[in-house]
């Protein structure tokens, strides 16, 4: 492995507080070191360029069963949009739901090094790990979906937090998962009967617990265990006009809950793809932005974070464990619909969707995403995602960055809409002059997500001793381009990407791959005979797979990198 010195770049590293200073970065044995420690390494001239840590994606659907159903059911997603293979890489296919190879390479070209797969159905964990094996370059963690799990619905209904924690620890171990994900808490279980929970107080059929009790209980469980990441919630009532009230109700559940972990995480609740949850109005006719009402609350409460889920105005493939939402969406657009209900655990739906810029609602959704990020006061708690591929493919992050950094870019687009006047009336984007800085972009795309997930000692920073994951972008902060397109171009393809000290991308071309890791959380808890008995009982009676075959075999884990948590006290 070669050593490197990256010389004269403008460094943006929020976790160490570096705001665009010229600084040399050393790479030695795959780690970041003081530049003076590198003797005889290769020199990379980064003058006039921007240097950041490798990107960290806190919420992306990049691997797993529903992603794969999306690939399978949409051959048209491959037409005309796939890159031609270059060099000694694997073939890259697909646009909104790219193949695993395309996913890994595309993230690397954008300077990313860590992805958090946002929804792993526990029963399908071996599938997720198979896809992780086939996704090159980037390290991946996957969150098991737990908001509708029968064990947890029962424990939380009875307020048996210790049992819930012991089961959660067992499940993370069995699936080699990373953290607790709740999707439409209670609503997805209701979908087992074709029903839903659209407020946080709707009782879940049979289980007779409310989404509020689930979210609160899971948050407490998370802090009882002291997991690296906080509870990661996709709240109820996604995508409906007027849903900002449900969102606020959900966020308020975090009041009074304090973070408990040794990973430097400050928040207890992460609301994912907040854009889909910040809608005002009562119908699609009077649909309008609720971003200000939501952001007033978020800005005032520092124990919550969110990622945006920017709408990118593309044809894409929506997919979520929110089964009833996908059914509802399918009834709106009447395109093809796939669904997979997963026994005792969760569900998933997949529907292709066209965010058409000639449709008012789509444009308002686009504006709401940008408003959230522009209204945010602390970008360490506001993360850049497109809820890939739901609001748009992750390959559009550079375009989102362009819109965030350039008022001209977003105004040009806003005024080009067929219904621009109506869109302007329903949103406040036009009145917003703010343009985010490169430092804020670094907070949104690496430092913030890494801190929120409790992995900032390994990812998202250029601190000495961390893994040498580095992105060098061809953009000069002292001479920011007048043409916003050049911003998008710079973030689309790095000048160089380093992964664990290996140069994997040069001038936007993937030139090497490197061993990549599966990050998971290994939680030790006290023995719990009740939970063990419950696990044996449910597997004996209700699962269609044997307990011993449910747990991911070690041989199916790809380069595991465990985060140890001791919760035995």
């Amino acid at each position: 492995m070669s050593d490197y010195i990256i010389k004269n770049g403008f460094v943006f590293d929020p976790l160490t507080g570096i705001k665009g200073d010229k600084k040399d970065i050393g790479i030695k044995d795959g780690k970041i070191v003081e530049a003076s420690e590198v003797k005889g390494g290769k020199t990379i001239d980064a003058s006039g360029k921007t240097v950041m840590a490798g990107g960290v994606d806190i919420h992306t659907h990049c691997v797993g069963p529903k992603v794969n159903v999306g690939r399978l059911m949409r051959p048209e997603d491959k037409l005309f949009r796939s890159r031609t293979k270059v060099g000694n890489t694997r073939v890259e296919m697909g646009f909104s739901v790219p193949s695993t190879f395309a996913t890994g390479y595309a993230y690397a070209r954008m300077g990313y090094s860590f992805l958090n797969e946002a929804a792993m159905p526990p029963l399908h964990a071996p599938h997720v790990h198979e896809e992780i094996r086939d996704t090159p370059i980037v390290d991946i963690a996957a969150m098991p979906v737990m908001g509708n799990n029968w064990f947890q619905l029962e424990y939380l209904k009875n307020r048996e937090l210790e049992n819930n924690a012991a089961y959660t620890a067992w499940l993370l171990n069995a699936t080699k998962g990373f953290g607790i994900k709740c999707v439409n808490p209670g609503g997805t279980e209701a979908w087992g009967w074709g029903m839903n929970c659209t407020t946080i107080h709707d009782p879940v059929p049979y289980f007779d617990i409310t989404p509020a009790e689930i979210v609160k209980g899971q948050m407490e469980t998370n802090e009882l265990l002291g997991l690296p990441h906080c509870l990661h919630v996709h709240p109820n009532n996604l995508g409906n006009p007027g849903n900002y009230t449900t969102t606020l109700d959900t966020l308020k559940l975090a009041e009074g809950i304090k973070p408990n972990n040794k990973f430097g995480r400050d928040v207890v609740l992460h609301n994912t793809h907040l854009q889909f949850h910040s809608y005002d109005g009562t119908t699609w006719a009077d649909f309008e932005s609720g971003s200000k009402k939501v952001m007033d609350y978020v800005n005032a409460h520092d124990n919550i974070s969110f990622d945006v889920g920017f709408v990118t105005l593309d044809e894409t493939t929506t997919m979520t464990a929110d089964g009833p939402f996908e059914f509802h969406l399918n009834r709106l657009n009447n395109l093809k619909w796939a669904n997979t209900d997963v026994e005792l655990e969760t569900a998933a739906g997949i529907v292709p969707y066209v965010y058409d810029k000639n449709i008012k609602v789509c444009d308002i959704q686009w504006a709401i995403g940008l408003e959230l990020a522009l209204l945010a006061k602390d970008h360490m708690r506001c993360h850049l995602t497109t809820d890939h591929p739901n609001a748009g493919p992750f390959t559009r992050y550079p375009r989102v960055i362009k819109w965030l950094m350039s008022k001209k870019a977003r105004d040009d687009l806003l005024h080009s809409f067929k219904w621009s006047e109506k869109v302007i009336a329903a949103t406040q984007l036009e009145s917003m002059d703010r343009e985010l800085s490169l430092y804020e972009i670094a907070q949104m795309t690496r430092a913030g997500p890494a801190k929120c997930m409790g992995i900032s000692n390994m990812y998202g920073s250029l601190k000495e001793g961390t893994n040498a994951n580095i992105a060098i972008y061809d953009i000069n902060p002292e001479k920011m381009p007048k043409d916003p397109e050049l911003i998008e171009k710079a973030f689309s393809e790095t000048a160089y990407t380093f992964k664990d000290g290996v140069m994997v991308v040069e001038n936007g071309v993937v030139i090497a791959t490197t061993p990549k890791y599966t990050v998971w959380t290994d939680v030790k808890v006290k023995e719990n005979a009740i939970v063990e008995r419950d696990i044996h009982e449910k597997f004996a009676k209700y699962y269609s797979v044997g307990l011993e075959n449910y747990k991911v075999f070690d041989e199916h884990m790809h380069n595991p990198r465990a985060i140890e948590v001791d919760a035995t006290n």
């Binding site: 690939r71 051959p75 073939v91 979908w191 997979t340 209900d341 997963v342 209700y542 044997g546």
Partner: protein, 444 residues
Amino acid sequence: MPKVIKNVGCPYCGACCDDVEVTVSDDGKRVLEVKNVCAIGTQIFMHGGDHDGRIKLPRMRQPDGTMKDVSFKEAIDFTAKTLLKAKKPLMYGFGSTNCEGHAAAARVMERAGGCLDNCASICHGSSFLAIFDNGYPSCTLGEVKNRADVIVYWGSNPAHAHPRHMSRYAIFPRGFFTGKGHKSRTVIVIDPRFTDTGRVADYYLQVRQGHDYELFDAFRMVCHGHADDIPDVVANIPKETILEVAEVMKNARFCNFFYGMGLCHSDGRNHNIDIAISLTRDLNEFTKCTIMAMRGHYNITGPGAVWSWQFGFPYCLDLTKKTMVHMNPGETSSVDLAMRDEIDAFINIGTDAGAHFPIPAVQHLKKHPFITIDPSRNMASEISDLHVPVKICGVDDGGIVYRMDNVPIQYRKVVDAPAGVPSDEEFLDAVYERMVELEGEGFI
């Protein structure tokens, strides 16, 4: 002491029973006894391990037509050279191997620039066509077990083809919300033949052969409020029966359609599946309804999954461009390629194209190098230029397989394969390495 291994997955059908108990001999080379397996699964386990009946070396066809044992090294070299020399090689099969093998095969064929296809091509491929157009509202088998109170088997006969399907998942098990087992469920069987599955039905509808589409259409008319317009008899079924059964479906708490080749390979093919999916969608206006293909082999779902994540297409892949992939069933499907004599080297793996393909297709394929990779003798192996024996997944090799509901099941190795016999993955990886080596040496 013989050893008992529990929680073993069965390498027979798409039901992927994973509760098999296998007793193996002291030396770990023979299966002595199996429990919780159907008659067919039992035979597969008994064939595994190291015994006299097992083929242990590759067999190469000689100029005089006889087969001669050769080393694995020779077999690897022959396969690699065959692939490199061919303009449009085809590798087909994969129903009976693990996903590790599917991934290795994909890497080989991407490098070779050939076509890659699986048994779905002649089986549930028509289902894929319908899924491409209409989606796939489905669920896992445990959902059926725990919730479904109306079960429809349409054009499928699990009593013979998936022997434990009804008892493990669909009709007899006592699930969480189906505590009375069989008594909690209404079973509807729709089939032109009165099968053994039909015997357990509460409603048996003897649809007129080749007229399934019309019957689906009639059910859809009921869902859409046009019951009055249904003719007196549709596809052999009286109107009153149609109305009664439609009410059963609409009033279900959870209804699931299991369909098989009787639907996807009778007149209408993908259109039958398309309308079945549409009926499933319609019924979700009234209740919860899902649909599931009765996939045949234990891991025929696997290649569709692996190649979807690697290339975005489940079957009929054309990688001849080497830089991108096409799929166009009819053009890039194995039988069609073979019938047009476009294939100049054929590898049959984990299936028996010799038995399953039309004779003219096999005759065309046989004009060119023909290789079989399979643990056993079959019709394809006996006409091959090279037959490479490999481990039997689920018996002497582990690995991941996908059940008919796309749930991954981790299979176990229970006995040792004969020394030196590779798994599909090991053999294909060696072929890949040899291809790289040959290309480096300037071969072709």
